[in-house]
Symmetry: C2
Subunit: 382 residues, 2 copies
């Protein structure tokens, strides 16, 4: 994997990530393909909306259908017929958030599957083994991700273990074929001193890129942005930076302003299945009766398939009738919106106009919004 | 609407139906777009699998979102962005099968909506008004569809009323813009004398085509084929014949052999959502463990998107994980299978080889089948 930093504009960075399976122009957003599919969409749909790289979840694929089966069938890219690059997480976040958590020890994390209650021990070595079997282009070391707030002493102990796991993961990764990159993960909770220690510890291991974990886990937004700014200033400039699991459209813009290159988040697809459309003016909650006879597309001027073909009235009808096509058409639009937003940010950085873009976007986005729901709709994602 | 009978081969007929919104090569199969969408699929998907004409359900669209709203938004074709022809039923069949049925009187059918319990009176005139508002290319008169078996006297009384309703429907239809065709419906239950009387009564009204109703409603298969053969022999040769709501792939082949030109059925899409794939060798029930590591496509040699891109193992994974993409990929394959079967039958008739095709198809289809389930999966269809 190769990363070129092409340009900076204030804190914002324009870059290019070259992986064995394709080039990613950064800043980039990765649609989430939790169980080996971005819910309701085909690989062709994803290309059409401009996806360059996908995220897949190690935890889910380990449990079902199993990494060995996927390896046997030629790896995850072949299994799901996606020809571009894939990034996998370590599985840790889902163990903490979805599984029935058992003992966390130096060895690893014991948990019971959310699917069938079966017991497993996820170690740093097993996480790497799974990610090698899946064949992702970018993989991650097992870490511990804390909610907010957690006391300083507890956060410190957790961080120390995460750093020891990072070293073990790096050693396990060294047994691979050399085609996979590994990003280190910066934890440290809501404390600047621990974030600094995390950074120094992780950077000393010299990863191919750096993920920022443990943000957007319940802390106030200003604290998140402060920590992001602080972390961004200290990370090596020549490596890509990935902010895990974030976020809303304004989050993306504000994080790019602070030097983030890569994002993933379930919001565009999960909220689509909740009937919410993202637009430049905010969120449209399609079930509202004011859209019942609305002949306009979700977003005027949007070039996505959904906006070119269908009215809000039709989408509302599909959503209220619980038609499967609703989830697909809304997911298409939302991913198009997210990916077009990233493209606009890249253009703004290239033209040294990011600050103006940021101000304009944030001012307009705030104007009208039906409100965002993160309630889980049809199924579990990430 | 114009119908040309291009060729016959035994009882099988090759024809061409020209509607205001496109040509339909017959024998043809119509995917069912119950609520203004063929479940999980876009109009582009439908074109891709070879759909020439869709069926939409008057009952569903009357209740939600309402025919007036659809008319206001430019009609059903514009609402759902389907550019080809549409056929609508009268709404009667769903009133009998889905709604809470009230009194059937000379005036019409009282019922309570399956959605919200609201009370409605569907008359022949209202059914035509709804179908005019939807703007279908082919519409139908309100009829009474009986289950099997029903005593002769009761069937006779029902038929007499259906014929009076047919005359009222025809009169209401005469108020339209002349761009919609109307098919008469031949009922008469399981009795040859009543089927003959139905035929004479309906044909006397001179419809643009003839639908055969009340078959595949519980009667034994040989009786269905006998009644079909009998009806086919008596219908005017220069009008299209539509067998309502039928059926399995062998049903289609055997009905084409008896002169049917048009079909609709929810089987390919409903059974897709139940995890069943139709193939030339029978049904593949994808959840079975024998497909867990099967790298082959649903059907070897099939040119549909699903078969070109994905393995049975992947589709099984999606289905077991209840991923939305499963329903879509299986629906795509099944509709492709049905529409390709119709195309093969047209080729066989054109080459005067239909009898051989029929024998070959029926012999192979019987070989291996995982069994067909008609259990309703995710939602209600038709």
């Amino acid at each position: 994997m190769r990363f070129e930093l092409l340009k900076t504009d204030g804190g914002a960075r324009l870059g290019r990530l070259t992986t064995p399976h394709g080039v990613v122009e950064t800043p980039a957003f990765m649609p989430v393909g939790t169980q080996g599919t971005v819910k309701s969409l085909t690989p062709e749909d994803l290309r059409q909306v401009g996806a360059q790289i996908l995220l897949a979840n190690t935890y889910h694929l380990f449990l079902r259908p199993g990494h060995r089966l996927i390896a046997e069938l030629g790896g995850l890219r072949r299994f799901m017929a996606w020809e571009g690059p894939i990034l996998t997480d370590s599985g840790g976040f889902q163990v903490y958030s979805l599984a029935s958590l058992g003992k966390v020890s130096e060895e690893g994390v014991r948990f019971r599957s959310h699917l069938d209650g079966s017991e497993h021990l996820l170690t740093p070595e097993l996480s790497v083994e799974i990610q090698q079997a899946l064949g992702a282009d970018i993989i991650h070391p097992l870490d511990e991700c804390l909610a907010h707030p957690v006391p300083h002493a507890e956060t410190e102990a957790s961080l120390a273990r995460t750093l020891r796991w990072a070293a073990r993961s790096k050693a396990a990764h060294a047994t691979g074929d050399g085609r996979q990159a590994m990003f280190g993960i910066v934890q440290g909770g809501g404390y600047e001193d621990l974030r600094r220690r995390a950074l120094e510890g992780v950077c000393a291991l010299e990863f191919d890129g750096y993920a920022i974990g443990g943000l957007a886990v319940g802390e106030p937004k200003p604290l998140m942005l402060d920590l992001l700014e602080f972390t961004g200033a200290l990370l090596p400039k020549d490596r890509p930076r990935y902010l895990m699991g974030v976020g809303t459209p304004p989050d993306l813009v504000e994080a790019v302003a602070r030097g983030v290159d890569l994002f993933d988040c379930v919001l565009p697809t999960r909220n689509a299945r909740n009937g919410q459309l993202f637009t430049g003016a905010g969120v449209v909650t399609i079930k509202q009766s004011r859209y019942a006879a609305d002949p306009t597309p979700p977003e005027q001027g949007c070039s996505c398939y959904t906006c070119r073909k269908f009215s809000r009235a039709y989408l509302r009808h599909l959503f209220i009738a619980r038609e499967l096509l609703a989830y697909r058409l809304l997911s298409l639009h939302n991913l198009h919106f997210y990916l077009a937003l990233m493209a606009e940010m890249r253009t703004a950085i290239a033209g040294e106009a990011f600050r103006a873009f940021e101000a304009r976007f944030l001012a307009r986005y705030a104007v009208s919004s039906d409100g965002v729901s993160s309630e889980d709709p049809v199924d579990t994602e990430a």
